[in-house]
Symmetry: C2
Subunit: 399 residues, 2 copies
């Protein structure tokens, strides 16, 4: 039978992400290609205890349907944390629970994008956002992302001339680049936004993972009505529960709630309950300090190995998060490095899917959170041999 | 700030469902308005045991990211169950895990509906489907639903003339009506479908809840490439875990997987693991027999009370599921019955949101799974007094 798919998916390419999960599943391959937080740093005992308590004390409630907005005490916890960490006067009414922050990308695009509408994002930009937005058939305009944030001239053009419906960015330890916006850039962004009709969408998956533990102020702090923040417990507690949130002005959240309800009624309640119990009976800050210390060390190790073993590659120097990005020597393609890498039991992610315009062929993304330090050392040596081997086969540029 | 919402939501009405959850939350109100399975019949001990085992044996895996398609052994279990229960040769590759079957409605519509495309459904039709489909701005064509299934002339017109992209129906114990398609109707539907370009979407949330425990053959059994089935553990195990599935031809599922990944990467893995552990260590069939026995008795009680106390109302006589529908005496409006009911501490759901054309003002939906038998008895007495009171205030028709 010939299926009559909608236009939005008829051309959709198969995703690269599942290929990655499969590479990650081969234990002989050291993978820097995925985006997993460290399994070893998940507080499995603490979560097990929280799960036991919820199942002992109120199993009938936790296993029943609930309201779309999410478990109120959990939303309250999230709002309180914004107040405590960043001095932002968030309220529970501005928080909607979702299935990991990826769901915010889908539902927010659904809420704002008509076919052909313009939306802005960083270049390179997060693959999951490109995939989610594309299904609403917008025009995606990109702004080059530098060491300290987006190019302001290009950003201003998108806001003032193109009047993008919203600009999507990851100001803290961006995925894929690892870059963090400077305070100056954030202030300049606020100035450009003011008086415009563009919403700033801050994906803050990594804001709690700065190696120096110093919080950076979100753009939303200065333009609360004109910005939304998506957050996630995937990197601080555990991804498998799929609990994230959207923090947005109530007028937006009211409609967001309607599309959330149509999408899946509500996020799984059992995990909301377990997570809330965990958060209120354990010291999340201490747990995050442990994660951050480990990730900081791994990131430093990876950077050092790049500098020692592959001096012809340039790479970013993240202040936090889980990723860095490297640029290959001229003539080397990231796809070739991926293919040769897998043959040699080390996987990196080609930068290509992070560029909506076919760019990024000379970039690779590396995850430093998932592998152990020994694996990072061994994997980077494997990668350096792959790069050396490929470089040796290059035609010299003067030939 | 003036937000520039997309056309698809600018007009979206606020949902009625959250109002219902709030009514349900008032313990002094006996609510037949919601759609909750019986909390008392959730096997909390069994699920607690399964949760404990998962958290003891493989917590790092269960709490980490996983693949979009879902936990393979769970998909295998679902496929095996189709084979065992219905003799359908389903395979795990045809099963995609989702966040309760509501997510199938959203993602399937996303996969097939361009703005202005025609989609068919029953009249009355499931509210959650209307809400999910509407966001893709299709034309929704309806087919009157009778005691034994949809009107075949209207159905044939939609398939052959309108050529709806898909027809959405609930052949087993429909929500809201409680009606079940007869075997003859199913066969006639198959004949009409054959050779057409319309997909038949069977929402099978209630197929395991027939009071006589006799399985009904899905339409998909006869036209496997032209039908999909959505299923759910919400009614047989527990809704709070939000685990359902889409059973579809692989060509459809491949693209469905792409939109699922863009929507939220994957469904929560911890609950997939707990659920699978529960299913493989407990006797689901015996558990379902317990549920079905209780629901059958409650349904009978509600029907008897209607006949005894409110003989001027007509009502459906469900063979299974969780709902029945009643038609009010001439002149009575369901909205008034809802409002007066809540004042008198009994809630029923007006039929209106189940009609895309503004119909249903004289119908109410009642849930019989959630309340206890005592509550049903008391609630139906309250309802009969409300109806009697309102009828007394009616102008006699001959006046």
């Amino acid at each position: 039978m010939q299926y009559r798919f909608a236009d939005r998916v008829a051309q959709a390419p198969e995703s690269f992400l599942d290929e990655l999960f499969r590479v990650s599943a081969d234990p002989s391959i050291i993978s820097f290609a995925g985006g997993l937080p460290s399994s070893a740093l998940i507080d499995t005992e603490g979560i097990a205890r929280a799960a036991r308590e919820v199942m002992e004390e109120e199993p009938q409630v936790a296993l029943q349907y609930t309201t779309t907005d999410g478990f109120l005490p959990l939303r309250q916890y999230i709002a309180d944390r914004y107040r405590r960490r960043l001095g932002i006067l968030a309220t529970a009414e501005e928080i909607q629970i979702v299935n990991g922050s990826q769901q915010c990308l889908d539902l927010f695009a659904k809420l704002f994008l008509n076919t052909g509408d313009h939306v802005g994002m960083e270049r390179p930009g997060y693959l999951g956002a490109i995939e989610a937005f594309s299904l609403y058939e917008p025009v995606i305009d990109t702004v080059p992302l530098g060491e300290d944030g987006p190019d302001l001239t290009a950003f201003e053009y998108l806001v003032k001339k193109t009047q993008v419906k919203f600009f999507y960015g990851i100001p803290n330890s961006q995925n894929p680049s690892g870059q963090t916006y400077s305070q100056e850039k954030r202030e300049a962004i606020v100035e450009i936004l003011e008086g415009s009709s563009t919403i700033f969408y801050e994906d803050d998956a990594f804001g709690e993972l700065f190696f120096d533990a110093r919080p950076r102020l979100p753009v939303k702090y200065r333009v609360p009505d004109q910005a939304v923040i998506s957050g996630s417990f995937s990197k601080t507690v555990a991804p498998g529960m799929r609990i994230g949130w959207m923090y947005a002005p109530r007028e937006i959240l009211k409609k967001f709630n309607v599309v959330k309800q149509a999408a899946d009624l509500h996020s799984n309640f059992l995990c909301q309950k377990i997570l809330h119990r965990y958060l209120t009976t354990h010291d999340l800050d201490a747990h995050i300090r442990t994660i951050v210390a480990a990730y900081g060390q791994k990131c430093q190790l990876m950077c050092d190995l790049f500098d020692d073993l592959m001096p012809r590659l340039t790479h970013t120097r993240p202040e936090g998060g889980m990723f860095l990005m490297a640029t290959l020597p001229p003539g080397l393609s990231s796809r070739t490095v991926f293919d040769e890498g897998v043959k040699n039991k080390v996987a990196v992610l080609p930068g290509i899917p992070f560029y909506v315009d076919g760019g990024g062929t000379d970039t690779i993304r590396l995850n430093f959170s998932s592998a152990s330090e020994d694996q990072i050392t061994e994997g980077m040596h494997r990668l350096s041999r792959v790069i050396a081997g490929l470089s040796g086969r290059e035609s010299p540029p003067y030939k």
